[in-house]
Amino acid sequence: MIRDFAVALAHYDAYLNGLWNTLWLSAATLVLASLAGAAVAALMLARNKAMRLAAAAFVDAMRCVPFLLFAYLVYYGLPALSLQLDSWACGLIALVIYHTAYMAEIVRGAWTNLSREQIEAGRAYGFAGFPLFRRIILPQLFFASVPVIGNQSIYILKDSAFLMIITVPELTFAASSVQSTYFVPFASFVIAMLLYWLVTLGIEAAVKRVELAAEVRRG
């Protein structure tokens, strides 16, 4: 078994390459899905009933669909629409669209839970428009959603592994590639598992940092 780990670790560059791709995909998804999610959340709270229903339907639909199925639909659906994109682009698009729905739900939840008193107090003190948003509303939104967004980013990280099936060379794909060439499956996948765990611990530590900052802020 030690020999197996030695064989697997000798190909550390494959794992690092896969890990880098995983991190890149996850980070890009987090940023893009947060922005798109905020936009969809705005639609969900819009005055126009049609927009509200469309946004809600999108969010509900994405939350009922397994991510791998959605990735397959994007992977095989885009060529059918004459859009010839490689597996990377398809994977990223699938991740972003899918997690936009979840982010929209998170943003909407944070928005509706905003403390009315703080905003009214801010208005009473003369804050309005953009400064009101930047100094009073946004910090509240941010600190309220960070733990949930941190949680969601772990889901994004785990969903990225499904993309190995559509040949995206992320971490699990790298582990599978090494083990099928050198016959060290246990060692290879344990290494991958530990790498996912380390990244998750990092995310959880970062979230704790922000939570501490929020506590300090609240006084």
Binding site: M1, Y76, P79, S87, T167, Q179, S180, T181
Partner: protein, 287 residues
């Protein structure tokens, strides 16, 4: 409140580390199950298990829920002939060779190719086929007419296969004509690669000619076979874990028998469209 909870957290962290270290130290103690020899298994009435891939035409694949193909038919003959409990498991290619090398399976009855890297971990029974690797392209793709045109094009190939391992030979061939190898996409199995070839995501797929002929028959008019992408043929052989002489002898005895009674040639003609009359019993590939 604060100081005592802090101390507890310190305790927990060191306990956690202890647990991690304990868990890690336990791993080297684990190892593959004691590989039992064929005789021992037969004596103890334990099943002998061979493994086959689930989707690799025409060697082995599933049709209407039943395993068919050259290897599956040969296995049926083996099973009918065996005087002990001989079983078959059908799994994706990803874990097939690793399963043999770890002792989970006694042999693989599959269309695997023989190369030097594999011979370090496996012994192979006498080959059942020999084939050149060729490329497959879309029939309506007129931009590819020869090896030279493969420069910069995307290729699809099965992950963990000798087809993938021998791509450097193709790379040399392309570079000799002044071109460059394009992107390589690895698939878990060939049906997915052929699908992506059809929808345009990859420009050509590399497989043994027998496999390509099979997909041409399956989907007429969609694809076309090109030139060889290697200098010498690859041999198809059944692997056993290196050193498992008993299982190797058993497989070779069976293959000699079906060769002698003509059954092997009949099945080769049926599934591979050609019979291989002069295959050596042992090969030493130079790749």
């Amino acid at each position: 409140m604060k100081p005592s909870s802090f101390r507890f957290r310190m305790q927990v962290r060191s306990w956690k580390t202890l647990a991690v270290v304990a868990a890690m130290l336990a791993i080297p103690a684990l190892g593959p199950a004691q590989a039992q020899s064929l005789q021992e298994k037969i004596k103890n009435h334990q099943p002998v298990v061979v493994v086959t891939e689930d989707d690799y035409r025409p060697f082995e694949y599933i049709e209407n829920g039943k395993p068919v193909g050259l290897d599956n038919e040969l296995f049926q003959l083996m099973k009918a002939d065996a005087k002990f409990d001989l079983r078959q498991e059908i799994i994706p290619w990803t874990g097939l060779l690793a399963g043999v090398s770890s002792g989970k399976y006694d042999a693989a009855v599959t269309g695997s190719l023989i190369n030097q890297e594999r011979m370090k971990a496996f012994d192979f029974a006498m080959p059942v086929a020999a084939n050149m690797h060729k490329y497959l392209k879309r029939k309506n793709d007129n931009s590819i007419k020869s090896i030279k045109d493969l420069s910069g094009k995307t290729v699809g190939v099965q992950s963990g296969s000798v087809l993938f391992a021998r791509l450097p030979e193709l790379q040399k061939m392309i570079e000799k004509t002044g071109g460059k190898m394009g992107k390589i996409v690895q698939y878990a199995s060939y049906p997915e690669a052929y699908q992506d070839l059809a929808n345009g995501r990859v420009d050509y797929v590399v497989n043994v000619e027998i496999g390509l002929l099979s997909v041409m028959e399956e989907r007429p008019g969609v694809f076309e076979i090109g030139q060889p992408v290697v200098e010498s043929p690859s041999y198809v052989g059944w692997p056993v874990k290196k050193g498992n002489k008993e299982m190797l002898d058993y497989l070779n005895d069976f293959l000699r028998k079906v060769k002698a009674n003509g059954k092997l040639e009949e099945l080769q003609k049926k599934w591979l469209k050609t019979s291989f009359k002069n295959l050596p019993e042992h090969v030493e590939p130079n790749f």
